[in-house]
Amino acid sequence: MAIVAETSRFGKLSRPVLAWIVGLLFFFPIFWMILTSFKTDADAVKPEFLLFFTPTLENYLNMTENYDYWRFATNSVITSVFATVFALAVGIPCAYAMAFNPSRSTKDVLMWMLSTKMLPAAAVLYPMTFLTKSLGVFDTHFLIIVVLMLINLPIVIWMLFTYFKEIPKDIIEAGQMDGVSTWGEVKEILIPLAWGGIASTALLCFIFCWNEAYWTVRLTTTEAATLSKLIEGNRAPEGLFFGRLSAVSAAAVGPIIVLGWFCQKQLVQGLTFGAVK
C-alpha cells in the first residue's frame, strides 16, 4: 500500500490543492445562488462581484407571499413519497422474481423496461393531456403519483435487480426448504438482507421524483403543482428579481441537497447499477 499511496511529488501537494479547487468550482454555482438569495433585488443585479453586503431575509420571508411556496413544497413531498412507495411495492416483487428465477427473457424484459424511458414524452403529451382531462384526473395528486411512479419504475426495478442478484441463492432456497411462504421469504429474508439496496433505490427514486420537470409541469395547473412547476412558471419575467428567484430556487433544491449529503454513502452504492463489483 505504502508504495502506491503517494509515489510522486505531485501527489503530496498538488492533489489536495487541485481536488479542492475542482470541488469548490463545482459547488460554486450553488453557493452563488444561496448568496444571491440573501441579497435585496437591487443588490442582486448590481454589475459587480458583490461578496460582502448587508444580508436580508426578505426574499425568504416574502416567498410565501410571492410564490405560495409551502403549497408547492407540500405537493412535492406528497407526490414524491407516495410515488416512491408504490414504485417499491410494484418493483420489489418483480425484481425478486427476476433475480432468483431468471428465465431466458429476463434480460430482454429488463432492457425493454428501460427502453420505455426513452420514449419522447413530448410526443405523447397531447394524447396524455386529452386522456387525463377526459378521465377527470388532470391536475390531481393521484395522477402525478401514478405518472412519477411509472417514469421511475424501470430504474427502480433495474437497481433492485442488481442488488438482489448479489444475494446468495442458497439463503433463499434454505428458506424454501423450511417451508416459508413466498411472502415470508420476501419479508423475513430478502428485505432484511437487501435493506441497504432498497433504501438507496428509494432515495434515488425520491430524488428523481422531486426533480421531475416535464409531466409535473404539464399535467398540473394549481391543485397538484409541484416545486418544478413553481420554478418553471416564474422563470421568464424575473430577470430583475434575482434575489427572489434565488431564494425560491434555493428553497426548492435545498431539502434534496441536504438529504443527498446525509445519504451520500448509500447513494454511491446504489448508483452503480451493478457496474461495480
Binding site: E6, F26, A97, V109, L125, S249, V276
Partner: protein
C-alpha cells in the same frame, strides 16, 4: 444459470415468478402502449387544435385520414434535420465531457487527502439540483453577458487591462490586447452550448461517483507490481485503470443517454424561441397546434430512441447478466 434443488417449490414452478412480475410489466405496457397507440393514430390523420377554415380537422377522426402526409410534412420541414443534429450534438457532447471529466476527477480524488469527505460532498451536490433550477441559475446568474458572472468577469478583466495600459514599462504590451467581448448564450448555437455546459455540470458528479466506487475495487497488488516493474503514472492509468473502468463507463453512457435524449426543461428555459431545439422540443413546438405533425415527429423520435437503444444493448447487454 443453476438448476433448482429438487423439491424446491418456487424453482420448479414457473407461474409464481411470472405472477410477481405481472403488475410491473402490465403497468409499463399500458404506460407505453396507450400513448404510443394514440400517437400512431394521430400521426396518420389531419388533426389541428385550431382551424377557422377547416373546423372538421379539430376533432380526431378517421375521415381526416392523411396517410403518410404528416411524415412527409415533417421530413420537408427545415427544422427537422437540424433538431436531430442538435439532439445528437447535445447528447454526444455531454457524454464525452462527463466521461472525460468524470474519469479525471475520480482518479484525482481516489487517494486520501485532507478534507476528502468535504470535497466529495461539494462535488456531488450539483446532481441533486432540479433541472429547472439548474437552467434558471446558469442562464441568468452565471452565463448572462451583463448581469451574470460571465459579464462581471469580462468587465473585471477589461478593467484590469485598461488600468495596466497606463502602467510604466509594460503598458505598451497591454495596449496591444483587445477588449474582451462577453458571449451571449441566447443565440441559436451558443444556447446549445449553454445547455451542454449546465447539463455537464449536473451529470459529471454522477460519473465521478460511479468511477470512484469502481476505482476502490481496483486491484492494488497489480498496481504495486506495475510500479515495481517501473511503470509510470501514465502507463498505470492507460493499461490498468482505464480497462478497469470500461464497464462503469458503459453504464454511465447508457443511463445518461436515456436521460438526455429526452432533455426538455433546460432547452425550453434557455432557448425560448431562439431556434435552438432538439427533437423533443420540436415536437413540443408542433404540438402547439399541429397534433398530426407532432405525432409524426414523435414516431421519428421513437425510431431514433430505438436505434440508440439497440446500440446500447449491444454495448452493455452482455455484461448485464454476469
Amino acid at each position: 444459470m443453476r438448476r433448482a434443488a429438487p423439491g424446491s417449490r418456487v424453482m420448479s414452478d414457473r407461474k409464481l415468478p411470472r405472477l410477481l412480475q405481472t403488475p410491473a410489466v402490465l403497468l409499463l405496457l399500458i404506460w407505453m402502449l396507450i400513448p404510443l397507440g394514440m400517437t400512431l393514430y394521430f400521426s396518420f390523420i389531419r388533426y389541428v387544435l385550431n382551424s377557422l377554415r377547416r373546423p372538421e380537422w379539430t376533432t380526431p377522426s378517421l375521415s381526416n385520414w392523411r396517410g403518410f402526409g404528416n411524415y412527409q410534412f415533417v421530413l420537408n420541414n427545415k427544422d427537422f434535420l437540424f433538431a436531430i443534429q442538435n439532439s445528437l450534438l447535445i447528447v454526444c457532447s455531454i457524454l464525452f465531457l462527463t466521461v472525460i471529466l468524470g474519469v479525471l476527477i475520480a482518479v484525482l480524488i481516489n487517494k486520501a487527502f485532507p478534507g476528502r469527505g468535504i470535497v466529495r460532498v461539494l462535488l456531488i451536490s450539483p446532481f441533486f439540483v432540479m433541472p429547472a433550477v439548474n437552467a434558471v441559475l446558469w442562464i441568468n446568474m452565471i452565463l448572462d453577458p451583463v448581469l451574470g458572472l460571465q459579464g462581471l468577469a469580462v468587465n473585471g478583466i477589461n478593467g484590469m487591462i485598461a488600468s495596466l495600459q497606463n502602467a510604466p514599462v509594460v503598458g505598451w504590451f497591454f495596449s496591444l490586447w483587445p477588449q474582451l467581448e462577453p458571449i451571449s448564450f441566447r443565440a441559436t448555437q451558443t444556447s446549445a452550448y449553454a445547455v451542454i455546459i449546465m447539463v455537464t455540470w449536473q451529470w459529471t458528479p454522477f460519473a465521478v461517483l460511479i468511477f470512484m466506487t469502481s476505482l476502490q475495487s481496483e486491484d492494488q497488488q497489480q498496481k504495486e507490481a506495475a510500479v515495481l516493474d517501473g511503470a509510470g503514472l501514465w502507463s498505470q492509468f492507460r493499461f490498468l485503470t482505464l480497462p478497469h473502468l470500461s464497464r462503469p463507463i458503459a453504464i454511465v453512457v447508457m443511463i445518461q443517454a436515456i436521460f438526455h435524449l429526452s432533455l426538455y426543461a433546460e432547452i425550453e428555459i434557455v432557448s425560448r424561441g431562439n431556434g435552438n431545439k432538439n427533437l423533443p422540443y420540436l415536437i413540443g413546438e408542433f404540438a402547439n397546434n399541429n397534433i398530426g405533425a407532432a405525432s409524426a415527429t414523435g414516431i421519428f423520435a421513437v425510431i431514433l430512441a430505438n436505434i440508440v437503444a439497440i446500440f446500447l444493448l449491444r454495448m452493455i447487454g452482455k455484461t448485464l447478466m454476469e
